[in-house]
């Protein structure tokens, strides 16, 4: 029983990473109906910026805030320069754009900071959390930040006018324009927010996976999977999907004989496919009630 609870705890801890990434994925998906393959690289680049700032002597939280601002503006800039002109292009053109962005950011990071692995600090320390060996204070902090982020996003979208406008622009762009919403800027804002959320994910993950240009590869796949599992239209679903992914991955690795570390990922992804066969909209995807 103790093994079981410990595995659940450890699963929640890894799940927090996936949840953060999935949140960023859902934000952009809501705004432009595409999955952003470069999301992980944008997060990685932002994390490098924060690392560079700390190298220059900026304290952790100062670097954290400056990086969020950088990521927010950077996300908006990428949308304005690269993806606004592609807004009416076919899906494949957008996919090509995402892949190009992925390669460009990855190479630039390698060029500036090279590919050697770097240590990255954590503000939460790394002592065992509440005496448990499986979850450290850093992982506990990560879970806390993810939950906080989700609550903040919920309030933003549910109770602010700009959040309402963003939802309207994502749901029905033409109607949104007819009530006077500048939908184009709402999309840019969505990119900025997604980029900032990704940066938070990157800075929280870096102490665990270490900082290097390819650090987000695996994480992004889990993030996508979590977002799809939870439902691409639901930030709440994305976070739950992230935690579920983490827990299931850990339990499968521990209890199913022959799975171990190597097969954790395929097993988790197989679970997702099974869920989607039964519920194509994901666990918390939007059900549209319509009367005709």
């Amino acid at each position: 029983m103790e093994l079981f609870t410990n595995q659940i705890l450890a699963g929640i801890a890894t799940g927090a990473i996936y949840a953060c990434m999935a949140l960023a994925v859902v934000m952009i998906y809501q705004a432009i109906d595409h999955l952003n393959f470069a999301q992980g690289e944008m997060a990685m680049f932002a994390t490098f910026i924060s690392w560079q700032l700390m190298q220059w002597g900026v304290p952790y939280w100062g670097a954290f805030v400056l990086t969020l601002i950088f990521a927010f503006i950077g996300g908006i800039a990428i949308e304005r320069i690269l993806f606004k002109p592609l807004a009416k292009a076919p899906i494949l053109t957008n996919v090509a754009g995402f892949i190009a962005l992925f390669a460009i950011i990855n190479s630039c990071a390698g060029l500036i900071w090279d590919f050697t692995i770097k240590q990255y600090p954590t503000p939460f320390g790394s002592a065992p959390f509440l005496g448990s060996q499986l979850i450290s204070t850093h992982q506990a902090g990560m879970i806390g930040v993810t939950v906080l982020l989700l609550v903040a996003l919920f309030f933003f979208f549910q109770y602010t006018r700009i959040g309402l406008a963003m939802r309207a622009a994502a749901a029905l762009p033409e109607s949104a324009r007819l009530v006077g919403i500048n939908t184009s800027w709402m999309i840019a804002l969505g990119w900025g927010m997604a980029s900032a959320i990704g940066a938070i994910a990157g800075m929280l993950i870096a102490p665990v996976v270490f900082l290097e240009p390819n650090m987000m590869g695996g994480v992004l796949i889990y993030g996508f999977a979590a977002a799809v599992l939870g439902g691409l239209t639901s930030p709440f679903g994305a976070v739950v999907g992230g935690f579920l992914m983490g827990i299931f991955e850990n339990l499968a690795g521990t209890y199913i004989p022959g799975v171990g570390n190597e097969l954790k990922l395929p097993i988790a992804l197989a679970l997702i496919i099974s869920v989607l066969v039964v519920k194509p909209a994901g666990l918390f995807g939007r059900h549209i009630v319509k009367r005709v």
Binding site: E174, R177, G180
Partner: protein, 237 residues
Amino acid sequence: MTHLLNVKDLRAYYGQVQALHGLSFSLNEGSLTTLLGANGAGKTTTLRAICNMVRSTGGIEFDGKPLNNRSTESIVRYGIAHVPQGRGTFTTMTVEENLQLGAITRKDSTNIVADIERMYAHFPVLKQRHTQQAGTLSGGEQQMLAVARALMLRPRLMLLDEPSFGLAPLVVRDLFGILGKINREDKVTILVVEQNAQLALELADQAYVIETGRIVMSGKAKDIASNEDIRKSYLGY
């Protein structure tokens, strides 16, 4: 009387196809005007051209200011509310959120709350359903919601695209009654596009008849309604 909206030689295009061939008309401030015509005559296109949702040339002036080449959202901010064909309801949001969206460009948040209450007084059914997803409303209720959402802008001009479409005759009477009341009491200038000519002519004070992208007839609504030749050849009743 001054003209609130002045449209001169309006031509509109869908790709290579020209849909409007030099349309001219004007709306008096405070009037209730109807634009009649058969399917495909260019009624919807005219409304869409006013809000720059279709490529067009010609002069469109609102309160003396040219609207050409302005974005749809900035035209709305001048106080032009457009209820599109199909109503444009945000079906996944609640009734109340739909009303708030109608006022999204306004800054006076205390008045917005009061205006939502005013809408509930106009349309009591919306109050009963204010937390419900708008997609669950019936067609008539959704049309009420669309009109209420447009009014939340506190518009000076309201454009309605076939509000009677798909509604039961009794519901249409109700709706038109409310439109008349809004026009009289709130001093909102209204341009309503209709296929239901008989009812629209009862409601309106001015009327234009449009055929294949051109105005073929204009005048007082009651004159057009009483002219049998026009009725037979253009309005089909």
